[in-house]
C-alpha cells in the first residue's frame, strides 16, 4: 500500500483534535466529580439541618479538593491473600468505560466528540463493562465482604440494565435514530417539543423508568445495596485504599453525571433552549456556546434532583430491588415498547 503524505497529515491532525477533546473531557469529568461530591454533601447537610462542609476555603468549596489530595497520598494496601494483578487492574476496568462513554454525549451543538450512529447502543454496551471490573475487584480482594458485595453489585447492575435498555428504546423509536445528536435535533424548538412532553403517557413512563433504573445502575441511595455501609462494610471496594479507591469513587460519580446527561439528552431536549427567544435563534459559535450552557444547566438540575432523592429515600431490601426490576420495570417496559411501536408505526409516521 502506498502511503500518502497528505492523508497521513490529515490523520495526525484528526488524532490531535480528538486528543485535545479527550483531555478536555477528562478535566471536565474531574471538575464535575469534585463539584458533585461537594454539592452532595451540601444538599444532604441542608436536608438534615446540618451545615455541611464550610471550613476549607470560602464556603467550603475546597473540601473535595482537599479530600482528593489526601486520597492521593494515602498508603496503598494490598491484602496478603489478594490477587495483586487483578486487584490493581480492577479500578481501571471500572473507570475507563465510565470515561469512554463521553465520546457520544452531545454537550452542545457541534460539541460532541464523535456523534456515533450507534450512540445509544454504544452507551449501554460500554457502561456495562464496569460490571466486569466490579466483579474483578470483589474476587481479587479475597475478602468475604468484597465478594458478597461484588455478587450483589453484579446481580443489581444486570437486573437494571434491561429496564434502561427498554426505556432508551422509546426516544429511539420516536426519532428513528440511535444517534444521540439526531435525537437531540428532533427535540429542537421549544419546551413542547421535548420528548418528556411528547407521546403521553409512553414517554413519561420511559423517563421515570430511566431515572429509577439509572439510579440503580449508578448505585445511589435508594439502591446503594452494593455499598450498603451498615450491612456489607463497603461492598466490593472494602479492601481498597488510596488512589485505587479514588478511581472507583470517580467512576461512580462520573456515571451519575452520565445518567443525568442521558436523561437530558433523551427526554429533556438535550442542549436545546426551553423557549425560542433564549438562544434558539442564534447560529454558529454563539449557538454552540448557548447550547452548552443550556445542557449544563439542565444537567445541574437533574443532578440536584438525584441528590435530593439520594438524601430522602431509605435503602430498599435486596429482594425488593430484584422484584422492582424483574417483576415491575421489565414487564412495564416491554408493554411500553409495544404501545410506543404501534403509536409510531400507525400514528407518527402517517
Amino acid at each position: 500500500m502506498q502511503i500518502d503524505t497528505a492523508q497521513l497529515t490529515a490523520l495526525a491532525i484528526e488524532i490531535a483534535k480528538i486528543l485535545a477533546a479527550a483531555v478536555c473531557i477528562l478535566v471536565f469529568i474531574l471538575l464535575v466529580v469534585l463539584y458533585v461530591v461537594l454539592k452532595l454533601r451540601w444538599v444532604i447537610a441542608r436536608i438534615q439541618s446540618r451545615l455541611g462542609p464550610n471550613r476549607t476555603g470560602p464556603w467550603g468549596v475546597l473540601q473535595t479538593v482537599a479530600d482528593a489530595i489526601k486520597l492521593f497520598q494515602k498508603e496503598d494496601i494490598i491484602p496478603r491473600g489478594a490477587d495483586r494483578w487483578l486487584f490493581t487492574i480492577a479500578p481501571a476496568i471500572v473507570f475507563i468505560p465510565a470515561y469512554v462513554v463521553y465520546v457520544v454525549i452531545p454537550f452542545g451543538k457541534g460539541l460532541t466528540v464523535r456523534p456515533l450512529d450507534v450512540g445509544v447502543v454504544y452507551v449501554t454496551a460500554i457502561s456495562s463493562i464496569s460490571i466486569i471490573g466490579i466483579i474483578t475487584a470483589g474476587w481479587a480482594s479475597n475478602n468475604k465482604w468484597s465478594l458478597l458485595g461484588a455478587f450483589r453489585a453484579a446481580s443489581q447492575l444486570i437486573a437494571f440494565e434491561v429496564p434502561v435498555i427498554l426505556a432508551m428504546c422509546i426516544p429511539v423509536l420516536l426519532s428513528g435514530s440511535l444517534n444521540l445528536d439526531v435525537i437531540v435535533q428532533k427535540q429542537a424548538g421549544s419546551i413542547r417539543d421535548w420528548n418528556l412532553f411528547n407521546a403521553f403517557p409512553m414517554c413519561q413512563i420511559a423517563c421515570l423508568m430511566l431515572l429509577i433504573a439509572g439510579l440503580a445502575e449508578a448505585n445511589t441511595t435508594p439502591f446503594d445495596l452494593m455499598e450498603a455501609e451498615s450491612e456489607l462494610v463497603a461492598g466490593f471496594n472494602t479492601e481498597y485504599s488510596g488512589m485505587k479507591f479514588a478511581l472507583f469513587f470517580l467512576a461512580e460519580f462520573a456515571e451519575a453525571f452520565t445518567l443525568s446527561a442521558l436523561l437530558v439528552t433523551l427526554f429533556l431536549g438535550g442542549y436545546n433552549p426551553p423557549v425560542h427567544f433564549l438562544g434558539g435563534g442564534l447560529t454558529g459559535y454563539w449557538f454552540s456556546l448557548v447550547s452548552l450552557v443550556w445542557f449544563l444547566v439542565k444537567c445541574w438540575l437533574v443532578v440536584v434532583l438525584i441528590l435530593w432523592i439520594r438524601s430522602t429515600f431509605p435503602r430498599v431490601r435486596i429482594d425488593q430491588l430484584m422484584n422492582l426490576s424483574w417483576k415491575g420495570l421489565v414487564p412495564v417496559g416491554l408493554a411500553n415498547l409495544l404501545v410506543t411501536g404501534a403509536y409510531v408505526g400507525l400514528w407518527v409516521a402517517r
Binding site: F72, E75, Y99, V100, F151, I158, L173, L247, P331, G341
Partner: protein, 125 residues
C-alpha cells in the same frame, strides 16, 4: 468513515489508560509504604478471617444472569427495530408488519419471563 468514528473511541481508551497509569504511578511516588502483618490481613471487622473468601456462590445469581443474558441478546434485536421503524412506517403494510413482528418477538420473550416467574426463580431467597 466508520474507522474514523471509532478512532475517537480508541483515543479515549488510550487516554483513560494513561490517566489511570499516571495517577497510580504519581501517587506511588508520594505515598508512604509501611506494611505490617495486621495491616495486610484481610479485613473482617477485626476478626481473624477463617478460610479463603473464594467460596462457592449461590446458584440464584447464576439463574438471574441467565435470564439477563436472554434479555440482553434481545436488546440487540430491539435496538435496530426501534431505529428503523419510523423509516419503514412510511408504507402502511411495512408498519403493520413491523409491529406484528415485534409483538410476536416480545410475546415469546414475555412468555419466558412468565415461565421463570411461575417457576419461582425470581424469588430472592
Amino acid at each position: 468513515m466508520l474507522a474514523k468514528d471509532f478512532l475517537a473511541v480508541g483515543v479515549f481508551i488510550i487516554v483513560g489508560i494513561v490517566f489511570v497509569a499516571v495517577t497510580l504511578i504519581a501517587s506511588y511516588l508520594f505515598r508512604p509504604y509501611n506494611p505490617s502483618g495486621e495491616k495486610l490481613r484481610t479485613y473482617e471487622c477485626g476478626e481473624i478471617p477463617l478460610g479463603p473468601a473464594w467460596l462457592q456462590f449461590r446458584v440464584g445469581y447464576y439463574v438471574y444472569a441467565l435470564i439477563f443474558l436472554i434479555f440482553d441478546v434481545e436488546a440487540a434485536f430491539i435496538f435496530p427495530w426501534a431505529a428503523a421503524l419510523l423509516g419503514f412506517s412510511r408504507t402502511k403494510t411495512l408498519a403493520v408488519l413491523g409491529i406484528i413482528d415485534m409483538v410476536i418477538f416480545v410475546g415469546v420473550l414475555a412468555l419466558g419471563l412468565v415461565y421463570a416467574w411461575k417457576k419461582g426463580v425470581l424469588e430472592w431467597k
